[in-house]
């Protein structure tokens, strides 16, 4: 039998574009005499349409698309994902897979394990199915039996998979939209290998690829045999139509990327898809001469092309010469255009007008924020005028402790490095420079500073980043409390101070730009904290 995995990049809600891509892949497979082609979860509408699923018209349109596709499926079996109404209770919905052969839907399986944790809200949208997912068809006058299941079904207890495997099937087919997180690809493949071995089943696993708002899907689809051996593995972060002949002994295994390459490609793909799927090509970015904006600019350039990037240098009276030199050197290396506009006249203007009306207590903070917000006004003007998206440059460590100005440096439509701790920012700069040296050494080696007052350093008000990142990771990723973190070798008062900063700055994060999720616990849909939250007082 000839199998195909259509690891494709879909656009949520764009049924027409998705349908064209699906049909195009079916046609290519037909041309190569493929017997069975498998698509990712919720193929026709993309993953996840969220509350679009509450619109009956949307569900109807999805079903219509499946029927149109089915009509074109001659001499090939197709497994495709779509949302549908519960057959008896139409106000409920299923996350379903159709097995299509010769223009006919032979079987519909409805997902049973609905994830409802971290970024997932499938209980909000879907009802658990009850069909066994078994389908038996004739292919070239031979009978084949398949067990179809969807994403989460094969994780965790995997009862449905065990039940299907017991029914003497030829192949398990799992259609997935399993989002990327650093470290997850390896553990996902190991899990799939174990599932195959434990259940003595062969598996065709098709995963989605591409960016959807904060989520990025890596693909890395696989064919695994009943010994747990990977027979074929698709690319990571790229589309692929993989064709695999079960009669031949060839393995088609794309080598795995290393850790930093993987993260860098996740950020690049996520950025490109966010822009292009929303109809934008151009990005504006404020270049401070610092490492965060440098990495953001490098990724944006790789994602969108140098001709689409405008760098803004917006120095103040507190900006050092090296800031400007470093930013210009970066722009030259990346071959992106720049404008330099000193914010001093605006700053002086606001200061002159507002100073007499301000009290002393919060004057410094107020003044620092004014500078950041003047930059926001200028940068957004360029974004509006060029029909571009402003990139916000904050990293996870800064966003965690609120070391950023709302409507100032936080302004922007997309925040490429928001899920990278500061130390990962350094790692990724070194990684990017290992391909070609674009980020100036001085940017990497100078002490970080917001340059909002004379001789300011991040370390004036924050601990060194190795300490800060470790404390933040303990709290945010691992749900540790202050004492547990302090027991790992940190000062308890410092830990409490940091955790309080994290909690108190929730209001800023809830107005922040979204950005790609590359950990298991990003700021965004993963972590849902109340703003009004008396609990941090216990740390005080």
């Amino acid at each position: 039998m000839k199998l195909a995995i259509a690891q494709i990049n879909l656009t949520v809600g764009h049924l027409k574009k998705n349908q064209d891509k699906i049909l195009n892949n079916i046609k290519k497979a037909q041309a190569q005499s493929v017997d069975l082609i498998v698509f990712p979860e919720l193929t026709v509408c993309g993953y996840l349409p969220e509350d679009l699923l509450y619109h009956q018209q949307f569900i109807d349109d999805c079903l219509a698309s499946v029927k149109t596709i089915a009509e074109q499926c001659h001499d090939i079996c197709v497994v495709i994902g779509f949302p549908r109404n519960h057959p008896n209770e139409p106000e409920k919905r299923h996350n379903s897979a159709a097995f299509i052969q010769d223009g006919t839907i032979k079987m519909i399986y409805d997902k049973q394990q609905l994830p409802n944790y971290l970024v997932f809200d499938e209980h909000r949208y879907f009802t658990k199915g009850s069909h066994d997912g078994i389908v038996e068809v004739e292919i070239k006058e031979q009978s084949y039996k398949f067990g179809v299941n969807i994403c989460e079904d094969i994780w965790n207890d995997a009862q449905i998979v065990a039940d299907q495997a017991k029914q003497n099937i030829d192949w398990l087919i799992n259609i997935s939209a399993s989002p990327y997180a650093s470290g997850k690809i390896g553990s996902r493949i190991r899990m799939l290998q174990k599932r195959c071995k434990d259940n003595h089943a062969n598996l065709i696993y098709c995963n989605l690829v591409g960016g959807q708002d904060e989520l990025v899907f890596d693909g890395t689809s696989v064919v695994i045999d009943d010994q747990g051996q990977v027979l074929a593995q698709c690319k990571t972060f790229a589309e692929q139509l993989l064709i695999f002949d079960t009669q031949k002994q060839d393995k088609f295994i794309t080598p795995r990327l290393n850790r930093l390459t993987e993260i860098y490609q996740a950020l690049t793909l996520s950025t490109r898809d966010y822009f292009h799927k929303n109809g934008f090509n151009k990005a504006i970015i404020c270049l401070s001469g610092g490492i965060d904006s440098a990495l953001t600019a490098a990724i944006a350039t790789d994602a969108l092309g140098a001709e689409n990037i405008t760098g803004l240098l917006l120095p103040s009276k507190f900006s050092s010469t090296h800031s400007i030199d470093d930013a210009l050197a970066l722009a030259k290396n990346l071959n992106i255009k720049t404008h330099t506009i000193t914010i001093e006249p605006f700053h002086a203007g606001f200061e002159e007008t507002l100073s007499p009306l301000m009290n002393d207590y919060f004057k410094n903070l107020t003044d620092e924020n004014i500078q950041a917000r003047i930059r926001g006004v200028i940068a957004m003007s360029f974004a509006n005028n060029q029909n571009a998206i402003l990139l916000s440059t904050g990293n996870k460590s800064e966003i965690a402790v609120g070391y950023s100005t709302l409507y100032g440096d936080m302004a922007g439509g997309f925040a490429i490095i928001k899920d990278l701790f500061k130390q990962q920012v350094y790692e990724l700069c070194e990684y990017r420079n290992s391909i070609s040296p674009v980020i100036p050494q001085n940017t990497i080696h100078k002490p970080p500073s917001a340059e909002l007052r004379p001789d300011q350093k991040d370390s004036d008000s924050l601990p060194e980043y190795d300490q800060l990142d470790a404390i933040l990771k303990g709290y945010i990723h691992d749900f540790k409390d202050a004492e547990q973190i302090a027991n790992e070798g940190y000062d308890l008062d410092l830990v409490k101070k940091i955790l309080k900063m994290v909690d108190r700055n929730e209001y800023k994060r809830q107005q922040a730009a979204l950005g790609p999720r590359v950990t298991k616990m990003a700021f965004g849909k993963d972590r849902r904290m109340p703003i009004t939250n008396g609990y941090p007082h216990n740390y005080g």
Copy 2:
């Protein structure tokens, strides 16, 4: 038997403050020889702590608080809500109610119906319980039997309530955190009456009161007899310790508020709680002379006191004289202080610097946004300097179609009227003026304008607000598609244009300030739409 309903206002996460308030209410009830006192859902931690529930320390602290409270419960029965670990699978959690008597927890019931729609995500946090909720105790040498259940348990199919009612109980006890929406109080009480009548059961129903981020709880707790008759009803939007002697025939029924009073009080309470629970007293508000900022200022003044409000008049060269006069008249009526700062010099400065760098195509839009963002810079400076929260003044109609500037008029920490359609804004202004005339007639009667270019009117680019609001309500509240809405008497092209504006401006809403939810479908947790969304192209 003497019953008490402790309809109290709790602070999410502030276990100490909540515990003090709980103990204080128990003490007051004890002083009046109350036999049984009932508190709202998740009493010790407030509703809903969201991902705080993933911190084991938080769950442990909640249990410790319940134990401390139990120790003080002498000669009184107490029903109190708290989160707890599943007894056998500690990684799971229950939303629970403890029945306490004489220092001992006699029974723990775990919620069975977990809402996971609209603003609710209880499947994310809790596992369904299995205890029957029945408890039998001696009170003054007489035996009583109660059926305890929690909020959603009594809605919808209400199987647990029917099961409890069959067990010859004296009282059903439901502890709730049922958020307000306009029209919901009446339907909630009718539902409770029906439940009592259908199951021949007496009911003590205690609902939470107060604001928690976008949610506002109205209280309106009730005692209902087995005929469906309301015997006692607490206040709406206020704390109350209601004491009710079952031997006496007196009814204690606080009259219901009318529709507009209810909404106005919801907004006022929500604003006050958001500020005070987050440690703020002061608000900044930009007064444009228009109706949205006027209503926002009136509510803020009623919520926080005139002495805590600063109005900013930030006229541009496009501002009409009446704008300034109307804003000053409003401020005088409300007795709030103002500063007037013309933005023209800043606007001219940005224009001079940026104009040579801008292309023509988006120049007007860019220029309009610059004005709004200069106001944002100035207003946020006052907020930072006074340790105040800037109030954003957009209404639901504007926010829906994106008729607002990110980081400009959208800047702010709280948006009081974000869930009011424009027509409701007018209604509430008239309502507020019926108490005392604070909003100038000219503000109410002039045509709405953003005044960002000469002689601009909202109706230049939007339909009249009665049409706009009806179209938006059909799409957002009722999930209708373009054809269905057009069939109600609107031009199909206009409808499609409006729906497209709604979809395309999702990115703005995801960076908007939160504000009180007063409908069944607010922008916020109720409506979760993807930003990257190809579906609107189908309207094009």
